[in-house]
């Protein structure tokens, strides 16, 4: 198959950037979008040009490194699928496809399709942690946890931190991301001990860099891990709860 690609090129973080058009042919419908970029890059190198910069690591939808906007949609046309697993079979032969970085105010572009998502790490550092030193944990069978409770916690813990939710949000909010971590840790007995501090600090870090939530729900439509929208309700509950248990 053959595609026309309009790809965002930006030499560096202070550069203004533009779209560049490429024709690629002899594509296989089973290739991923990233493998198509790999191929295009080989072609560019042979023409003596610079390769298009983009991030990817595991290429099996678990590390969260990849993330590009395809035709305006984070990750690509298939819902709930990371860029690395998006296959070309989603496009018809001869289509024009626009590829740009994950757009969000909090994710400055570093080069071409590479963005800086360090803001997500800073939210975790603020409180998505447990204040417990190596070797000091109690026996994990000493505190029983129900089967369903752990499975529910895992639904939220599954977040891969790709940032697609932020890019999909018209406000550039990171509430689904933050809510997923808060909910996950609140559902487990030992991490739950610090739930009030966690909500206070994580929400503050989130509001420092990201937009507010207006409950559009666009985030859950693109989330590769199907993190439930209830993460947002849960975040609001935890932040409200923390107001009644202030940390002084």
């Amino acid at each position: 198959m053959k595609l026309t690609l309009q790809i965002w090129r930006q030499a560096g973080d202070t550069d203004s950037g533009h779209y560049e058009t490429f024709e690629v042919d002899q594509l296989d419908a089973g290739m991923s979008i990233l493998e198509m970029l790999d191929r295009l890059n080989e072609q560019l190198l042979h023409e003596g040009k610079e390769a298009i910069a983009y991030d990817s690591e595991c290429r099996e939808s678990i590390c969260g490194t990849c993330g590009i906007n395809v035709n305006g949609r984070p990750h690509g046309p298939q819902p709930h699928v990371t860029s690395c697993m998006q296959r070309l079979r989603s496009f018809h032969d001869g289509a024009t496809v626009r590829i740009e970085p994950l757009r969000a105010g909090a994710f400055p572009v570093k080069k071409d399709l590479v963005t800086d998502r360090g803001g997500l790490d800073r939210i975790i550092a603020a409180g998505g942690t447990v204040s417990l030193m190596a070797g000091t944990a109690p026996d994990s069978d000493a505190i029983s946890v129900g089967h369903d409770q752990v499975e529910r916690a895992l639904d939220f813990a599954a977040c891969i931190g790709c940032g697609a939710c932020v890019s999909a949000c018209p406000n550039g909010a990171a509430v689904l991301f933050t809510g997923a971590k808060i909910t996950h840790l609140t559902m487990l007995p030992i991490p739950a001990i610090e739930r009030n501090e966690r909500a206070t600090y994580m929400v503050a870090a989130m509001e420092d860099e990201f937009g507010p939530c207006s409950l559009y729900g666009e985030c859950v439509l693109v989330c590769p891990q199907n993190v439930p929208l209830s993460a947002i309700g849960s975040l609001n509950k935890e932040r409200l709860r923390s107001l009644f248990h202030p940390r002084i």
Binding site: R59, A137, A158
Partner: protein, 660 residues
């Protein structure tokens, strides 16, 4: 009895010394306890005076960095990814073993040790297997407490499942994403210390050289991948937790960026490389589907708990799997290894799969796979139970292949997965370079010639959280008050200019072949010559091919762009350059070891298709040194020396591995 290592069958190899691994003498079961009692400690008020550089932020790196920072040391953590959370420990699926032995299936610490040592075909250290089992309890407790939602039974106790090479159930898991949950838990604890200020984090930063002063590791030279700036980080000790080098084969289950560069540069400074040719080929990877495929995806071995592997009885049978009746199927693992069946260890299952594919029984459009069939499990357990156990694997397969494993069998094939080989370390996880510690997959410890499933998350976690903190503190204790190398000292400036020279050289070749083209070619030479099966002939051929390719690389590599700012082509070129040297040593090691053991299957050493060890000659770990000028911007001739560490087993009875 004096140990005399055998002569080498590989041309040009020099025999080196007999190494002392510093394993406590006496009963291996109490070795770790006794060693910890010997270790020196440092007053909490003095710990902040020491700086430790930790390279890599997978399970071993995050654990070591966080634990040392919790103790009060100043830590610098480096990762080449944009966030420490993304290290490839995250992709491990099936689970983590622990010798908790709570059930009455008669598991025990001893049984864990026997399984690990026997699984490794008696080429790993017995005392380390004990340590692995002993510390496994604290690993589960710690990661559970800091947020890993381990699967639970309905009564609230931790759940377990079975894994390959083991007849009890000791694998703890979180669905099919155990690695992700452990990695994120460890990452969170690392970020906690970043917030406190005890860890300085350097993401998008690649280690390119080691700072050596007075024969000891005293820091690292790194390149900021965002700006291209090269800078030095002096330290009192360096920990490499940089993972495996399976990507040397091009196609592997590893992440695209996984590389050997940090380990290889340390090796070129004199750190021995243990068992470089011991590579695990995972039996259940998705087969290659297009020529542009950039990696192979792994389907967790846990599927083998409930899935049955088979091929059509007749070679070249083109019928759809559902149309092939039971009587015309060959459940080849159940037939060949009735005791362990579909749960036979990885090396054995991989070779059995390859044998079926090579003999024309392969299935799928490219006839390069065998079936892994969940139909019987769905009939027995119901679709709901199968879905709950494997939902994310099933989803992944649907995405990758476009078929539904709940209806039609999964197609799988063996591919490169885990490197048992790695930097040689003593029992204290320190390499032969003082101050250079190595943890996780990057070292050669624990797994001998074949790693058991679910032992890798365990070894990385044990190294990071519960071995390195003790061992590093012991090493640092007598060094209080010792100055770190100054930024203008010769050790630092020489390393700095070596790295700069290499970058400039790669950018100035202006050749005609891309780093990826060289990488693919290298991978195919290695896969043919030093893959699942190796022979004298295949290895000698591969060595010649690799040497030629390496010479071509430095004349003809094509790197565009500049040394400043992000340049992923340049990064790739540097990694491929290191793979080219490593690949030669892998072949030399495989050619040298004139026996079959675990994943190392020499066609000359087999009996009816089963590996034949030679314990009289080869019951030792090979630790290699590469002698070549310390110049990273050219293609020097490599000369190799094989040192040997004899292995002894006192509690586990040495026997031929038999899974039949």
């Amino acid at each position: 009895m004096t140990f005399t290592p055998p002569l080498s069958a590989a041309p040009g190899v020099t025999l080196g010394s007999v190494l002392d691994a510093k394993i406590p003498t006496g009963d291996p079961e109490t070795a770790w306890l006794r060693r910890r009692q010997e270790y020196r400690v440092i007053n909490p008020a003095n710990r902040k005076k020491f700086t430790v550089a930790v390279v890599g932020t997978g399970l071993a790196g995050c654990g070591a960095a966080a634990a040392l920072a919790e103790l009060g040391f100043e830590v610098h953590a480096f990762c080449y990814q944009d966030s420490p959370r993304r290290a490839h420990s995250i992709a491990a699926q099936g689970g983590i073993n622990a010798a908790r032995a709570r059930k009455v299936d008669n598991d025990s610490l001893y049984r864990f040790v026997v399984d690990t040592v026997k699984g490794g075909d008696f080429r790993g250290r017995e005392a380390e297997a004990y340590r692995l089992g002993q510390e496994s309890l604290r690993v589960i407790d710690h990661l559970n407490a800091v947020g890993a939602p381990f699967a639970r039974e309905y009564g609230g106790a931790l759940a377990t499942r079975s894994f390959g090479g083991v007849q009890v159930s000791r694998t703890y898991y979180t669905r099919g994403q155990t690695g992700q949950q452990l990695q994120l838990s460890a990452y969170q604890q690392l970020m906690r210390q970043v917030q406190i200020g005890t860890i300085k984090l350097h993401p998008r930063t690649e280690m390119l050289d080691l700072i050596m002063e007075d024969g000891a590791a005293r820091g690292v030279i790194v390149r900021d991948l965002s700006t291209g700036k090269i800078h030095a980080q002096p330290a009192d000790a360096v920990i490499l937790a940089t993972g495996g080098y399976g990507t040397v084969y091009y196609l592997s289950t590893l992440a695209i960026g996984c590389n050997a560069s940090a380990a290889w540069r340390a090796h070129r400074h004199g750190a021995y490389l243990g068992y470089p040719s011991l590579v695990q080929f995972h039996p259940t990877c998705l087969p290659v589907m297009t020529p542009w495929q950039s990696k192979t995806i792994l389907m967790s071995e846990s599927l083998r708990n409930d899935g049955r592997m088979w091929v059509p009885l007749t070679a070249g049978d083109e019928r759809a799997p559902g149309n092939i009746p039971e009587s015309e199927r060959d459940y080849y693992l159940e037939r060949k290894y009735p005791a362990y069946g579909n749960l036979s260890p990885r090396d054995i299952s991989s070779r059995a799969g390859k044998e079926q594919i090579d003999s024309g029984h392969g299935v799928g459009p490219m006839h390069n796979a065998t079936y892994l069939d969940l139909t019987d499990a769905i009939k027995r357990l119901g679709a709901d139970v199968v879905w709950e156990r494997y939902s994310n694997l099933i989803e992944m397969y649907r995405m990758a292949v476009g078929e539904d494993p709940m209806r039609t069998p999964i197609r799988i094939a063996p591919n490169t997965h885990y490197t048992m080989g790695g930097l040689w370390v003593d029992y204290n996880l320190m390499s032969n370079i003082p101050g250079l510690f190595v943890g996780g997959e990057a070292n050669f410890s624990y797994h001998g010639a074949n790693r058991l499933g679910a032992n890798s998350l365990l070894s990385a976690s044990v190294d990071g959280w519960f071995v390195l903190p003790y061992a590093v503190m012991d090493y640092l204790a007598p060094k209080l008050g010792q100055a770190r190398p100054a930024l203008d000292s010769p050790a630092v400036t020489q390393a700095h200019s070596r790295v700069l020279e290499r970058t400039e050289r790669l950018l100035s070749v202006h050749g005609t072949r891309t780093p990826t083209e060289f990488h693919k070619q290298l991978g195919s030479y290695l896969w043919e010559g030093c893959g699942l099966n190796r022979s004298d002939k295949s290895l000698k051929k591969a060595i010649a091919q690799i040497r030629t390719l390496r010479a071509e690389f430095w004349q003809d590599v094509l790197v565009t762009g500049k040394g400043v700012g992000i340049n992923q082509t340049l990064e790739k070129a540097g990694r491929v350059a290191d793979f080219m040297e490593l690949a030669e040593l892998m072949c030399i090691d495989a050619l040298d070891r004139s026996e079959s053991c675990g994943a190392h299957f020499r066609l000359e050493h087999q009996e009816a298709g089963e590996a034949v060890r030679d314990d009289d000659q080869w019951m030792f770990a090979s630790a290699w040194a590469t002698d070549a000028p310390l110049d990273f911007a050219s293609n020097p001739e490599l000369k190799f020396t094989r040192h040997a560490e004899p292995l002894e087993y006192s509690n586990v009875h040495v026997a031929r591995r038999n899974y039949q």
